[in-house]
């Protein structure tokens, strides 16, 4: 076999293998973003997808119930009841009127079941410099590597 062809095959195998793995990882972890207003309009399979929804925590709506934490997210004039069922404690910045991002599934009765909650105090937030801005922003639970 010609040398160039050998290299071509080697490169092709690596790229194809990585592409396949990337595709697997994509299928496993893809998450849709939706706004609170969009949620009721979703139909079919879109309803059961894993998704992220952002909004503001309604004042006074945070209630601790055994095994979960309930609260209400507001955005674009709509509201969304959320139950947080994750095991990690909520971040320090998760309080009334803070902006929060929930990740999980929508229930049949319209309640959102969140496994992850990220929060940031809206009035004060500024991205941190450099590589940690994102990390700073999420004083929140994340899936570890």
């Amino acid at each position: 076999m010609r040398k160039q062809a050998k290299f071509g095959v080697g490169i092709g195998v690596i790229v194809a293998a990585m592409g396949f793995l990337a595709w697997l990882g994509y299928g496993e972890s893809k998450t849709y973003y939706h706004t609170i207003a969009e949620l009721p309009t979703l139909t079919g399979s879109a309803k059961s997808q894993r998704m992220r929804v952002g909004g503001t925590v309604a004042p006074g709506s945070i209630h601790h119930v055994t095994g979960r934490i309930d609260f209400v997210l507001e955005g674009e004039g709509k509201t969304l009841p959320v139950s947080y069922i994750g095991s990690d404690p909520l971040p320090d910045t998760f309080v009334d009127k803070s902006q929060a991002l929930v990740e999980g599934h929508s229930n049949a009765d319209g309640r959102f079941v969140a496994e992850v909650v990220q929060a940031k105090c809206a009035s004060k937030y500024e991205a941190a410099p450099g590589g940690t801005g994102g990390a700073a922003a999420s004083s929140a639970q994340r899936t570890s590597m």
């Binding site: 972890s29 973003y33 991205a127 590589g131 801005g133 922003a137 929140a140």
Partner: protein
């Protein structure tokens, strides 16, 4: 002082524009006075940026709460240490800090080469000034840190006002790493401007390839070293402050800092192909271009908040400026390349698949694949919205799936690459160089299997780590043995001597060793455990070999916050080892809370304890304990990498010294171009 600062910034802008425009004129006219004056304008711009930065820092130290930026990021009780860091805690200040660090680099380059490389420097000066103009535009006209607070008076006229106190620094940033991490990372980001300026300048000037590569090597290494430190310090900060037990979450901004590191690493390796064999010229130029583009992209992602939903809170108009700048850079690079691409012709072709060249080629390939995978994963929400209208994000599984095999492949090449010969490697030398290391690695693998090691990736990682460490060790041993035979010194002294004779090669090995340590640390993540429990005083909790006994609580008022501490005694085999004090901090200035993790760290594992708040059910405090094996190796590896990079930057102690005869078996034909492991030549191996 704020007027002084903003005036200095305007003047710096004017100087940079002169350095840029005058520089272009100087390239065409070759007028010596014009060349000199543009160089001096470049220096003046740097000096003025220093003045502006110091005056902003002065505003922080003098508690000048008439300045909007100071009000937003400081307060009277903030300690001196953090008042320094407050400079880069927000948008405007970080951008000024970018300009500041860039100015440090630019000034060093202008001074270092003021009487050298006459044909090239005007081009380099113009490129550097161009980058400075962009950031000074932001500093002056888009995000000025010198805005004063004002409010309209009764007559409707704006009057200056001053606050009694500022609203304080974000508690997450009040941590020692936050003082050193951003400067490191920013030094990396800005530092890659210099190789970029040389690459683009050389391409425009059709300057000989080996020369610009040689000139930029040190600058690239400096930037690369800072980038590495910045990434690891950021990871350590995330580990020690955020309290989620991990150090890397594939957050868009983390990724952004990792991307230029990948291409920069690829560049540091592939330049050797160009130096030795005159190959990969196009590739190298584009690697430098891409690295710089990724640095700007990284700054853009951090500052604009386009990607992460969490960052969506920090949306700002600054994004369009960066997009514009990226487009301009791409256009200029592409134009320069198309115009002068004939000058980048390769002088050689690849000879064999088992050769140094091909190992570099594959090293570059997988670094690039990793870079593309991370970049596409990071920008996925943006592109999916463009194409399908849905914002779709991908999470950690996506990144891990691709990057873990890539990391292992890279680790393998780390061991193999440096010992392969240029052009073609004989089976003979493969056996000689890899027989022992491969054997030791496999033995380690078998032992691990016997002891019940069942995580496949970690197992492969272990074998490779042992393998790479053995190849590096063997290299030092063989080289030291030759020197020892001549000088009679100890092995240790001979190894040091060996390193100093060819700092680039052996410094490189030290860096590789550091990477092995980092990989050891990363492989531990497969065995992480954690446990969470509501604790009453006097109760214990068992994790791994440790018992955690909650002895009580206390409250510690500090100057800027009040800390609620858990007093946790750590016992092992019923014997007390130490006390840990995980904290919850309450910052009164801005009514924010912070968490302070307590870590008991050994080489074997980290015991990582978080005061996770009070349980909603029982009202009891919750203790969250993690047992993270081997994490310390990551930080240790980082230190070794930095040390190795510094060694590689040292000049060689002694000039050319070829010991080939002493080492080479007589049967080995030299014509193979085989570089025996202890051949000491001028340090460009």
């Amino acid at each position: 002082m704020d007027i002084f600062g903003s005036f200095a910034l305007v003047l710096a802008f004017v100087c940079a524009v002169y350095a840029f425009g005058g520089g272009i004129a100087a390239i065409f006219t070759r007028h010596p006075l014009l060349i000199k004056s543009t160089r001096q304008a470049g220096m003046a711009a740097c000096g003025l940026i220093f003045l502006a930065t110091f005056s902003l820092e002065y505003l922080f130290f003098s508690d000048n709460f008439a300045n909007a930026y100071v009000v937003a990021h400081s307060n009277r009780d903030l300690s001196t240490f953090y008042k320094v860091a407050a400079l880069w805690s927000g948008q405007e200040g970080s951008l000024l800090f970018w300009s500041f660090l860039l100015a440090v680099y630019v000034l060093s380059v202008l001074i270092t080469y003021r009487n050298k490389n006459g044909e090239l420097m005007p081009y380099v000066g113009v490129v550097m000034a161009g980058v400075q103009i962009f950031f000074l535009t932001l500093n002056n006209f888009v995000a000025s840190p010198f805005k004063a607070l004002a409010s309209p008076g009764a007559d409707g006229v704006l009057n200056y006002v001053a606050r009694a106190d500022g609203s304080g620094l974000n508690p997450l940033l009040q941590y020692p790493e936050m003082v050193i991490h951003p400067p490191n990372l920013y030094s990396g980001y800005t530092g890659f401007t210099i190789p970029f300026a040389f690459a683009l300048g050389a391409l425009l000037a059709r300057y000989p390839g080996e020369k610009w590569i040689h000139l930029t090597r040190k600058w690239t290494m400096i930037a690369w070293m800072f980038q590495s430190m910045g990434i690891l310090l950021g990871a350590h900060w995330a580990y020690a402050v955020l309290g989620w037990g991990g150090y890397w979450g594939w957050d868009p901004v983390e990724n952004a800092s990792f991307l230029p590191w990948l291409t920069g690493t690829a560049f540091l390796h592939s330049v050797m192909m160009q130096e030795k064999r005159g190959m990969m010229k196009v590739w190298n130029v584009w690697l430098v271009f891409c690295t710089f583009l990724l640095c700007i992209l990284g700054t853009f992602l951090t500052r604009s908040g386009i990607v992460s939903s969490v960052h969506a809170f920090a949306q700002s108009s600054i994004g369009s400026w960066f997009v514009g700048f990226l487009v301009v850079i791409v256009a200029v690079c592409l134009g320069a390349y198309l115009k002068n691409r004939d000058y980048l012709k390769s002088e050689n072709q690849l000879d064999s698949i088992i050769s140094r060249e091909s190992s570099f080629l594959f090293n570059n390939l997988i670094l690039l694949v990793s870079c593309v995978a991370i970049l596409s994963g990071t920008l996925f929400p943006v592109f999916s919205e463009w194409i399908t209208g849905n914002r779709i994000s991908v999470g950690a599984p996506f990144f891990n799936k691709v990057n873990i095999p890539i990391g292992l492949l890279l680790l393998f090449l780390t061991g193999v690459g440096p010992l392969l010969a240029w052009r073609k490697t004989s089976t003979e030398s493969l056996k000689r160089n890899f027989g022992w290391p491969l054997g030791i690695g496999l033995i380690a693998g078998v032992i691990a299997l016997v002891f019940g090691f069942r995580e496949i990736y970690s197992w492969v990682c272990l074998i490779l780590c042992v393998f790479v460490a053995s190849t590096v060790g063997l290299e030092f041993y063989r080289g030291a043995k030759v020197i020892r035979a001549r000088s009679g010194a100890t092995y240790m002294a001979s190894a040091v001597d060996l390193t100093m004779r060819n700092t680039r090669r052996y410094g490189g090995y030290i860096v590789h060793m550091g990477m092995v340590f980092v990989f050891i640390g990363l492989s531990g993540a497969a065995f992480n455990r954690d446990l969470q429990k509501d604790m009453q005083v006097g109760q214990t909790m068992q994790i791994g070999p440790y018992s955690l006994l909650l002895q009580g609580f206390d409250s510690k008022p500090e100057k800027n916050y009040t800390a609620q501490r858990m007093l946790v005694e750590v016992l092992r085999d019923k014997k007390p080892i130490m006390m840990l004090y995980p904290e919850k901090r309450h910052f009164s200035t801005n009514e924010q809370n912070g968490t302070m993790v307590a870590i008991y760290s050994t080489l074997k594992e980290d015991l990582y304890v978080v005061y996770a708040g009070d349980s909603p059910d029982t009202q009891l405090p919750v203790l969250h304990a993690y047992l993270n094996p081997l994490v310390k190796w990551i930080w240790l590896g980082g230190a070794v990498v930095v040390f190795g990079t510094l060694v590689a930057m040292l000049p060689n102690r002694r000039a050319v010294l070829v010991l080939t005869g002493a080492q080479q078996p007589a049967t080995q034909p030299l014509t193979h171009g085989l570089t025996p492991s202890v051949t000491m030549r001028e340090g460009h191996d």
